[in-house]
């Protein structure tokens, strides 16, 4: 398919051909059902078909919930049911609307298209944010109003203070190393013959889960120098005793750096790919002109390349900072938030699910939300400037 339509933007007026083919779908609805004649019959059908669809889907749901069938069979049925079910719902909803005919179609049909998305966004993101805010003003079990007490508790708590401090460490070291290394690789790869291979290998960790990456790095940080590469190198060079790089409160707060390294390993590829594309977008004559005028490579890099891709640097930096702010898996799997490595997201989990305090848990989540609001506003501004919506 992709070969046929590599860049649909390019298929301009020259290609009206595919339009001749479409089957007139909705208008034929009355054809095969014409024998019903009466409106009553049509309404009955319009109700019966959706009901039947719902019934079939509900049976599928019950089957999947209670079945003892072999796992592979369940997998096939679940996938067909899930994917097919959604397609079926759209088809049925559209079918019903198109049967109504006339003015109704153009008024209601947009909501068949957009409605499910809006409903899901409302249920899963918009309303929960408000509900979490409400819970953050309530006591531990969510039934007494306590005002801003939870927020006061969150900011007065020592472990929470460490979590905030650690998150700042994550942002300062993690985000900046990702950006610097990403930029470095992008610039170097751009001048190397082995560009594709080098970029693919640095980019590869993007495919690895944070849980998987945590195991990879636990192996590297293992205390036993026969297992952990870092301790093997360290004891081999210094002759000192092996060190627990992450699981030791003595190293705190620097043990966080070893967790941050995992994130840098995972995310540098992302920065590199975007920077690489931005660098290739810089007009070559601009760089050549500077070189002809006698600028050395460092001047070209700092005076021309960096300013030229500043927009990309800011966008990528924002993304990485948001990612870093919400970091959870790495800390949770590697140290469980012990040894002073807790971050906001692990404290959130601890408060909610271990300490069962929905009030402070919600307050922490809202603090996270407040941290990203500037980005949200920036995105919205960008949108209203760009689009004539």
């Amino acid at each position: 398919m992709d070969n046929q339509f590599p860049e649909p933007v390019a298929t301009t007026k020259a290609q009206p051909a595919p339009i001749a083919a479409p089957v007139p779908g909705g208008s034929s609805a009355q054809g095969p059902l014409g024998w019903l004649g009466t409106n009553v019959g049509r309404i009955l059908i319009s109700i019966a078909i959706p009901l039947l669809a719902f019934y079939v889907l509900y049976q599928g749901f019950l089957f999947l919930r209670d079945t003892n069938a072999p796992k592979a069979v369940v997998a096939v049925i679940a996938i067909i049911w899930g994917v097919g079910g959604v397609a079926l719902l759209y088809w049925v909803a559209n079918w019903v609307v198109e049967r109504m005919g006339g003015e109704v179609v153009s008024r209601v049909q947009p909501f068949v298209f957009v409605g499910p998305a809006i409903a899901i966004l409302a249920w899963y993101l918009a309303i929960p944010a408000l509900r979490t805010f409400q819970l953050s003003l309530m006591g531990p079990t969510g039934d007494t109003f306590v005002g801003l007490k939870n927020y006061a508790d969150v900011f007065a708590d020592r472990t929470m203070f460490t979590a905030f401090f650690n998150n700042i460490l994550w942002i300062v070291f993690g985000a900046s190393f990702c950006l610097i290394l990403g930029l470095l690789v992008a610039v170097l790869a751009d001048r190397s013959r082995y560009e594709t291979a080098a970029k693919a290998l640095i980019f590869m960790p993007m495919a690895i889960s944070m849980v998987g990456a945590s195991i990879i790095f636990r192996l590297i940080y293992a205390v036993n120098p026969n297992i952990g590469l870092l301790n093997a190198i360290y004891t081999g060079l210094t002759g000192a005793e092996p060190v627990a790089w992450t699981a030791s409160a003595q190293l705190s707060p620097w043990n966080n750096l070893f967790l941050i390294a995992v994130m840098i390993w995972l995310q540098t590829g992302y920065c590199m790919v975007l920077f690489s594309a931005a660098i290739k977008g810089i007009p070559t004559d601009m760089l050549e002109a500077a070189r002809v005028d006698g600028a050395n490579e460092f001047q070209v890099f700092f005076r021309i390349m960096i300013p030229a891709i500043m927009g990309t640097i800011i966008a990528v930096g924002t993304t990485v900072i948001i990612f870093t702010l919400k970091i959870f898996d790495v800390v949770w799997v590697m140290t469980g938030g012990q040894f002073n490595t807790q971050v906001i997201a692990t404290q959130y989990y601890r408060e909610y699910f271990t300490a069962q305090n929905s009030g402070t848990g919600s307050a922490i989540a809202i603090v996270l939300l407040i941290c990203v609001i500037p980005v949200m506003i920036y995105n919205l501004r960008g949108f209203s400037e760009r689009e004539a919506f």
């Binding site: 190397s192 889960s209 998987g212």
Partner: protein, 391 residues
Amino acid sequence: MATAAATQTRAGATTATTKKRKSPWGQIFVNGVLLLLVLVWIIPTVGLLVSSFRTRFDIQTSGWWTIFPHRDYVTVGEPFAVPDNAGDRNGVMSIAPPNDTGSVAKGTFEQFRDGVTTSDGKYRLVWIGNRRTGQIAIQQQQWISNTNFTLENYQQVLGTTTYEIKQPDGTVTTEQGTNFVNAFINSVIVTVPATVIPILIAAFAAYGFAWMRFPLRRWFFIVVIALLVVPLQTALVPILTDYVKLSLNGTFLGIWLAHTGFGLPLATYLLYSYISTLPRDILESAFIDGASHFTIFTQLILPLSVPALASFAIFQFLWTWNDYLVALIFIGAKPDVQVLTMRLADMVGTRGNDWHLLTAGAFVSMLLPLVVFFSLQRYFVRGLMAGSVKG
């Protein structure tokens, strides 16, 4: 002006070729630094992969890097009894191997127990056993590599049955397999619909936003953009409360919908920016031919949008496959619906030192995303370029 333009085009045409071969020293420097970074980047994964094929005993006693040829002391010949002329066993002794009495090693019992190198550096002598009846083993430096690989770890990680494991000291222990196959299938069941459903819903919505007129259209889209960066954490607990009420907790439907909800803002945004740029005349002429919105969408827009759909699909696939937090919260209660990441994280907690299992398990969990990633990297990068942030 004209000359400038001329040199510019010439520069534009030639730099692409000249840039890659500048001064040889520059190239060596660039490639050297690049090689160093790439090595640092792949060593962790290589370590995991190599370890996953080593036996349990090897992992515990020697680093994975010893598979590469290196010089190390290897025991040669049979151990010999400590000669009577060695000296006081509580003080400094001097011992020589019986076949080469010229090279002598001096040290206390404690030093000999760790191994003492002879004065000419040919042998290392190691005391085996206790102070009174111990023997001396002779070791010599040789080039060796520990290439004793096995598939046993994978069998044990994937299977459910118990395995008999022969320890190096001859005893036999039985261990329960960790049944990663089950978790792998669960991951597939969760991931495939959790990738396709949001794409379908988002594609419908993107078409609606781009080509249909309805009240509050602008406001709804602003909400989509605002939700792009909302952190998951604000949403988890209210949804969990709803799920418990609807008994959706621990069901596949529940987790599909959760991933759908969390992936939808990005999906809608990406697909909107693609679908809205499709040429208007195609749609208009289809309309004139009497096609309905539904027909245009399914017959025309979906096929045309395959590149954008693929980009997001890879994005969402990697995201759901690698997700841990959402699964932890919405599946947590039901062990036999557990996905790979949860099973792995559990194993870190319960069997954190069973490196033979952890490494094999981690690699099993990475296999599919790595294949998808390397085969469809082009689309993935394009999705990244459309650039955005996800909550």
